[in-house]
Amino acid sequence: MPETMLSWIDLTVVITYMAMMLGVGFYVYRKAPSFEEFIVAGRSMTTPVLVCTLASTYYGLEDLFGTSEFAYNDGVVAYFGYSGLSLSIFLFAALVLAKRLRSENFVSLPEILERHYGRESGLISAVASFAYSIPALSLFALGRVCEVTFGIDAWIGAMVLGAIGLTYTLMGGLLAVAITDAIQFVLMMTTLAIGIVLLMGDVGGFAAVEAIAPEGYLSPLGAMPFWLLIAYVATLLSVLVDPGFYQRIFAARSGRQARNAILIAIALWLAYDWLVTAGGVMAKAAVYQGALPADLHSNDALLAAMIFVLPVGLVGVFLAGVLATAMSTMDSYSLVAGTNLSYDLYRPLRNPDATDRELIRYTKIGIVTAWLSGFALAFVFDHIMALWVFMATGLTSTVLVPIMAGVFWKGKKTPLAGTLSCATGLVATIIFYVVIPLLGVENEIYGTYIWSFSIAGVSFDVWQEYALYFTLPMSFLGFLVGNLLGEESRRTPDKEASA
């Protein structure tokens, strides 16, 4: 077990941060809130509150360390090829989706499908949303940061810090999550801005990077295979079906405030992503200069570089920011999973007339269930990132087509179309993820399975990351067949609006 590299000042800062998070839980705690107060904070959120919670929730440690690792290994393509494209999808969500979704007063993502297509689509999407929202990746990352920085076992770190996040989420619902998100937002953004500038000064700026950079390292499109880039971009479509993102739109005071918040968050993410990318490439230069160890794992590059460059005290603030990054993602998705269990599964299946008190009780049971599942998966399952990609692919394949058709297609929409679209997307994902490892071979460089075959002398490589190119057309086909064979429902939001 490694020993901690922190001073008592840094540790005090981190402990103070933890106490503040619990304090917020007590501050917003209310004995008997209504369900809407607990889940969407009474739809009271203004633009600045939404910006804080959007920015900190949607960016977890997988972005902080994943993007910096990508930059450390492949250069600035991490920003221009990946982050830039993902933010263009957020732009679409801000300009086209936000107002439309907020005006319908939904509570959860599966409810969109339930209202457009009926109970079955809602149930299938609730299962996919629950699986996606299990906070395994953020608990794993939380534990790993604790191990590297505090010198404690990863599972103990994840259990202690995860329990703090769990406590304030259970006490205050989305309101507690949003307020803690604001504190986490400030810590995340400001320490990164200060740290990267200091790191740049310390290694000698990009001139030092240019001196050691391999070919394509500072080229915006880099040296990555084009199709792999396209495959990564396809996974970004999960933004359009992200239940945590939708929950924040539903919690906005108005559609206009939701749209403005996403636009401001995009501007902040653009700056944040570049700084994370710059941190990754400058950590590479620091390794070449001998300032960081030569055997540094690329995933730890940014963390090691920041601890190396920041002064005592600010290291504690940065670490609190790093822990905040994971906690803000973990608490938000645990809450989403709880909503899926109570509002999207228990209510339609067992008790359509459930009272607010019952719904909140089942939401809390769902939050704890998701948290425990995430904890178990994080420390039992070896390929945690692969698991997250599978969950994200599963959710996108299940709900993207029927949600977009539900929101934008004003023509005939049958309940069977929704059900078949969801079911074929989900089943196709499972088949794809079972078949490709069976037919293909594992590629250790990219950490994925690739199935190579040839037809009429032309060879093809099918990567596991190409799943959405197969599953989304299947989901669309399911929608078309269901629309052709099924009968239209009597009540849909479109009809209610035109009535």
Binding site: V28, G42, V51, A193, V197, G205, A207, A267, L268, W274
Partner: protein
């Protein structure tokens, strides 16, 4: 300082100032949001 350095500086300053402005807005609105979310009068 080359173009990449300048770009990094601009992003760092923009992120820092943007964060401070948004957080100031949060502090202005927080009390009202908490009251509304708790179902109390603003």
């Amino acid at each position: 300082m080359n173009g990449w350095d300048l770009f990094t500086w601009i992003n760092a300053v923009a992120l820092f100032i943007g964060t401070v402005i948004v957080f100031a807005g949060f502090l202005r609105d927080a009390r009202g949001v908490v009251k509304r979310a708790k179902g109390e009068e603003e």
